[in-house]
Symmetry: C2
Subunit: 329 residues, 2 copies
């Protein structure tokens, strides 16, 4: 594979080259992994997009929001990439962005790039690949990278680790119930956006916004937040209302963090985190060869049957892996 | 170190030998780790104690409960070991069982063995060591091993992975509030025991028991549970009331699980889990040498400064670790 040529085409903004590179990054094959790493080493990864993490429970209108929000940005001449982290895609075989018809217009926009979630067994694997895909989108000159996930907890933490800002999309809800949103996710949000502020739901949306604004004031006061943030707002993705205000808020917050140094500090901490994760993954990759898997399975059965002590079996396994003779006993 | 002699003394029930063996198991030194593994390979680890996980929020009277419950069991001629998993001990420098005066009488009982939580940075490390300490206690002929932890979530999951039964100790509480106990911990419990059912709190304790009995019926119906389990009961550890009933319930449940095969299935799954954890830990132990740590730190700083891409830096690090020449790029 011509890595240098691919890097050049990505830097030149070719969407097809970017799509192929992400496929390479997502591959589990060792030779693909080596090529993907070589590609990342070749590309200029110094460019920074605005990385926006986006979460919301199913039915909240996330696709409609991304479509409307994305189209607004591309109309301003910005280039927008949409990636997804979906821990359930391994099970369902599908992906939250797989149904591209849901973002029909944005998908056809030449300034937009939409990529479904990779299907993988482990959230950790999906996460590392998505982080690399984000880096590829930045190198390809995208101005905004939206990283979408579903509201199930662990995937939000992972998306927050690769985002500059985190947006939580919610539906209007009666009363002051917090819609089953986990406190941890609330604490992660820089912006809570109540969607469907239209028609019959408009009044409820405004009330919901007030509830969340109150909850946010109680929940969080971080050094990374200027006055007024985290913030709750209402939008109607369907009627295209409130979206410019969301963008203004995101830009204002990003700008403040850049000026105060929080932006760089967060990016540095995230880079450290992904470096350490990649080191661990590389060491554990020793377990992924067919030979290692077969021996792991056999020893695991012996351990389960009570024929071997877990710690002792692990020592013997690792010694064999390293080509040492297991000790007697 | 005379591993064979130590194994013999442990099998003979010598508490001092057991204590020294647990110190060996807890050590982070590579030579100690090798000796500890050798000891586990030498000992007969086929003996099974009843392993009881025990959790409860601070102030619930856990030490008093363990002291009363343990003394009741030793009075019946049973040998009882008490271990602890305390993720906070690394920070506090202390340990939940460090204050032995809290279990004064049990500590002096020749049929009891009490061991504080090891001080370690990572819960994962504490967990693996405690699992090995449990195996040592079983090999030393203890009939009951109590594994204590505090009610903070992750440590409960880890204790449940090394327990046959899980007991959650709670205080009497007004109303139907669930005392901030996480749903996940509730779902883990085979027995919820409301302590302090004495004096002014007695009526409240009975009401709390009814509340939790109701909650348990809604929360869980697993194949591992016979009719009537999970169960909520009241005790007074202070006045020594209700403890025989707790023991009867635990024995009844254990017996049912043994007969239905759930006991063996759970033990097998746990053994597999600890084997896999030990394999991962052994592979990641490569990172713990001073040389690896120094290079990890330097690369981490380069990555944080934006001078190296995380995935690329990780590849270079692992290649150096393996003595390969890092690729150019």
């Amino acid at each position: 594979m011509d890595i240098a040529g691919m890097a050049e085409r990505i830097a030149g903004g070719e969407r097809r080259a970017l799509a192929r590179a992400i496929t390479l990054v997502e591959s589990g094959r060792a030779d693909h992994r080596a090529q993907a790493t070589e590609l990342l080493a070749t590309l200029d990864t110094g460019r920074q997009a605005l990385r926006i993490g986006l979460s919301g429970t199913p039915g909240v209108g996330k696709s409609t929001f991304i479509e409307s929000f994305g189209k607004m940005l591309t109309a301003q001449g910005k280039r927008v990439a949409v990636l997804a982290v979906d821990p359930s895609s391994a099970r369902s075989g599908g992906s939250i962005l797989g149904d591209k018809t849901r973002m029909d217009e944005l998908a056809r926009d030449p300034n937009a790039f939409i990529r479904p979630s990779p299907s993988q067994t482990h959230l950790g694997g999906v996460a590392r690949r998505t982080r690399e895909a984000v880096a590829l989108c930045e190198a390809a000159g995208y101005d905004v990278v939206l990283i979408e996930t579903v509201g199930v907890g662990q995937s939000e933490t992972v998306v927050a680790q690769m985002s500059d800002l985190f947006l939580l999309l919610l539906a209007p809800a009666g009363g002051d119930e917090l819609q089953g949103v986990k406190r941890g996710i609330m604490e992660m949000a820089d912006l809570i956006v109540i969607n469907k502020a239209d028609g019959d739901l408009k009044a409820t949306a405004v009330r919901t916004q007030a509830d969340y604004a109150g909850a946010l004031r109680l929940l969080r006061k971080r050094a990374q937040d200027p006055d007024g943030y985290p913030k709750a707002m209402t939008v109607s993705a369907l009627e295209d209302r409130g979206l410019p205000e969301v963008w203004t808020a995101l830009e204002e917050l990003a700008e403040w963090r850049r000026e105060t140094g929080h932006w760089d500090a967060t990016r540095a901490a995230q880079a450290r985190y992904w470096f350490e994760e990649a080191v661990k993954a590389a060491l554990l990759a020793e377990l992924e060869t067919p030979d290692a898997q077969a021996r792991l399975k056999a020893l695991s059965q012996a351990v389960a049957a009570g024929d071997a002590e877990p710690t002792v079996a692990a020592r013997d396994f690792v010694q064999q892996l390293r080509g040492e003779t297991p000790q007697a006993g």
